[in-house]
């Protein structure tokens, strides 16, 4: 529509008072892309330059617009987004998002190799991932005389919500563990609040599959926000994954040296799911740096700990499911340094203790309290073990697993109680 009144797309309504003088704005020297739509005019001098609102469109522009908007823009949009997905899949992914599929692949491989062995599976977070040397238990004999298959399915940033998801996936695939060990990640039971750590905050929503998103959303405090974030990443991946794109350009996805200090998920995994910590440095400076990092990450959250209803519900769901499916299950309180434990406020610690007592009472649950199994020197940051810590933990874990297997053997008193 030009300012002189050639109102394309508009008509004067009859029955209304006559329209006053047509809209006239001063002429423009703007050469925005949009002025392509304006008719050619002599270019005004600088001092007379003033903006103009013109909507005169050339016939060619009119013809183009429909084709452009209906076909070419959607076409290139879809291509660009698919290209990003392809690029991400082929060339780069964050190690943390890469860990779950890798571990699942290894587990499937082990199960295919040893289909008849009773499976002992430990679900947990990065603490389990780095602590539990499942390979040392594999091959040892179960009470029924069969050699065991033990696997560490500890994954970085996984708490109760993720354990519920993984249990669901295992059962959907027909994998029924002979014994299931669940890490009790108290820090992830924190009620989701802005600025404080909880399992929700650790979860990278854009990277979840549709199935994972649909399963996990029931445990989210702000479901709408979670679903919106996920949808953004699906409908506009360049927007949803923009930070990862920047990291890729900066070369951060490949873990530059300073980041490897804080994130061990780049390390390889052994055939039984344990994160290989063999070459992990063990100097006072390194540990001081790691402890400072962990303190910075968790201190405020643990000092303000409040048991979240949704994360607690996830644990209830796991144990209810195990009871329904008749799968023996035990809860493991992973080793944590005294300094780290002291970060919890007395009220927060009381809430955790009460919750544990409730779980034990309601589900007749075995709880392995390994909290103080390790010395301070066995940790690198107060809650993740060094190699020595992993060895000590596994050594003490082996008899506990055997005891549990014996207690839950069909025909034993515990098994009968559970029935």
């Amino acid at each position: 529509m030009s300012s002189s009144g050639s109102t394309v797309g508009e008509q004067t309504l009859t029955g209304h008072p006559p329209v006053s003088a047509p809209v006239r704005y001063p002429q423009s020297a703007i050469r925005y892309p949009l002025s392509a739509l304006a008719p050619k005019r002599p270019r005004p001098d600088d001092d007379t330059a003033a903006p103009c609102l013109t909507l005169a469109r050339s016939r060619r522009m009119k013809r183009k617009a429909r084709l452009l908007l209906l076909w070419w823009i959607p076409f290139w949009y879809v291509i660009s987004q698919l290209a990003l997905f392809a690029w991400m899949d082929e060339s780069w992914q964050m190690e943390r998002t890469f860990s779950p599929p890798r571990k699942w692949a290894i587990l499937h491989k082990r199960l295919a190799e040893m289909p008849d062995r009773p499976l002992v599976l430990m679900l947990g977070s990065s603490r389990t991932d780095q602590s539990f040397q499942a390979g040392r238990l594999t091959g040892q004999l179960a009470p029924d005389g069969r050699p065991l298959l033990v696997f560490n399915l500890g994954l970085p940033a996984a708490g109760g919500m993720h354990h519920a998801l993984y249990l669901n996936d295992l059962l959907a695939e027909g994998i029924r563990p002979r014994l299931l060990l669940i890490e009790f990640v108290s820090a992830f039971l924190n009620r989701s609040r802005r600025g404080l750590q909880s399992e929700e905050h650790f979860t990278l929503v854009p990277w979840l599959s549709a199935h994972e998103m649909l399963f996990l959303q029931r445990y989210y405090t702000n479901r709408r926000k979670m679903i919106t974030e996920w949808l953004e990443a699906r409908l506009a991946p360049w927007y949803g994954f923009r930070w990862n794109v920047h990291e890729h350009f900066l070369g951060r996805h490949s873990h530059p040296p300073e980041e490897t200090k804080f994130d061990q998920s780049w390390r390889p995994i052994d055939p039984w799911g344990w994160r290989l910590l063999r070459d992990m440095p063990n100097t006072p400076e390194f540990r001081a740096l790691r402890w400072a990092g962990a303190y910075h990450m968790y201190a405020q959250s643990l000092q303000n700990f409040e048991l979240g209803v949704k994360p607690a519900q996830a644990l209830h769901d796991i144990f209810s499911r195990c009871r329904r499916e008749n799968i023996p299950v035990a809860l493991v309180l992973m080793p944590v340094s005294k300094e780290f434990r002291d970060l919890y406020s007395p009220e927060g610690q009381a809430q955790i203790d009460n919750f544990l007592a409730e779980l034990r009472r309601r589900y007749n649950l075995d709880i392995i309290d390994a909290t103080d199994w390790l010395d301070k020197e066995d940790f690198d940051d107060g809650h993740h073990p060094l190699l020595s810590g992993a060895e000590k933990f596994t050594t003490r874990m082996i008899p506990e697993v055997h005891k549990l297997l014996a207690r839950t053997e069909p025909g034993s008193s515990k098994a009968q109680n559970a029935d």
Binding site: M1, T7, V8, G9, E10, Q11, T12, L13, H16, V19, S20, A21, P22, V23, Y25, S28, A29, I30, R31, Y32, P33, L34, S35, A36, L37, D46, D47, A49, A50, P51, C52, L53, L55, R57, S58, R60, M61, K62, K64, A65, R66, L67, L68, L69, W71, W72, I73, F75, W76, Y77, S80, T228, E232, W238, Y239, R242, W243, V245, H246, L250
Partner: protein
Amino acid sequence: MLFCSWTFFQFFTLVFALYWFIPWRRLHWEIPLPRQRRFRLTGDEVRVWLLLVASFYFYASWSRKLALLIVVSTLLDYCIGLGLEAWQDSRLRRALLTLSITANLGLLCFFKYSNFFLASLDEVLIAAGAPVWFNTLRIILPIGISFYTFEAINYTVDVYRRHVKAERNPAHLLFFVLFFPHLVAGPIVRAKDFLPQIRRSKRWSWARFQLGGEYFLLGMLKKWVVADQLALYADPVFADPSAYGSLANWIAMLAFALQIYCDFSGYSDMALGTAHMLGYKLAVNFNMPYLATSVSDYWRRNHISLSTWLRDYLFIPLGGSRGTFWQTCRNNLITMTLGGLWHGANWNFALWGLVHGVSLSVNRAFRSFCQVRPGLDNFLKSWLGTALRRAVTFFWLAQGLVLFRAPTFALTQAMYARLWFPVEGADVNHIYGYNLFWGIVAGFVLFHVAACRQWWERLSLRLPTPILGFTYVLALVLCMVMAPIFVKPFLYMQF
């Protein structure tokens, strides 16, 4: 609800779909009323109501009470407008106009300036040693109050001057004030431009939708790719200039100069685009202000809807430039100081406006000086002179923006000290270092060159449609990648 947010996308998609995809044009209701009257409701009128309800929701999603406040104040202006048109007695009309201006400015002053004046009075009293002070009031500043107040005043003054007819349909007047694209941060719409558009029937046009989309995309590019990225260089330094070296302070100053332009013009472009997609047009608000060759030229190119409003409703009523040189200077100073204060309740803004008032007066004097010196005048009109004028003007404007941005006088002083007395110090900690800053500056310059030489204007008509589509998507992808992790509100929404 910010334009570049998921919430707005959902809101606008719904409004757009209801507005265009329902065949409103076929709708024609006639409801019989007593005394053989009929109430006619056409599809176009329903569309206006739809946008009115959407606009109300848009504002009410932030504050329902304050949305009602706009409605009440606009209805008062509606009644005053009818009175102004009906009555011939000049005294009565003047009284009505005074009532309207007092009510509108009263609300603006109450919400925006009461705490500012109380705090200033406190400082004066404390300085004088008086043992009393005033508690500041708990007031929420209604978003966009400065914009819609000026629109309402524009309406009643124009009706008073008989430049426009009083609007008889209250829904139309409400829609003029509440129309969501310009509601919270302008452009300041004139009644004589907008009210006639409401009465026109709207028809779908692909070209117009493309135009709106282009404006919106351009706005997004300015906001996300330039303004929000440059904010990462400006914000930390303006918060504590002493913690950074002179280089960081210079970069922060330049970054803010580009940020504020791109942030506000980005918003204006999105507003224009959104309005176009709904069949309305708003005034263009910017015309490459950093190509201005003088401060007066800058005000013809920057925030045009405000500067023309101030010109028409403040500067000219004060006498404009018809009087002596000193009277014009006085009018400039008053207009620009009030214009500065319009931006925010802070003495920094008033001082910034005052500096611009002085600059305009100096500019006027310099022009008179040059007019009697043809050699100098010709040199200044040459390409070298023009480049020099542009550089000096930009430099002066950027320096002035320190006053605009720094939250306190103390920080302003600290920043000027760092700018003018070189000091070694920390640099801004940005993931890309200063590379991104220089990249954006280069892009900004390139954009201006392209705009001046009409590259895009020529190209876009000649490019094959697939390539044109690819270009748009490329721009969209760039916006997406550069979008900040946390959406930043537009700077002018606080005004």
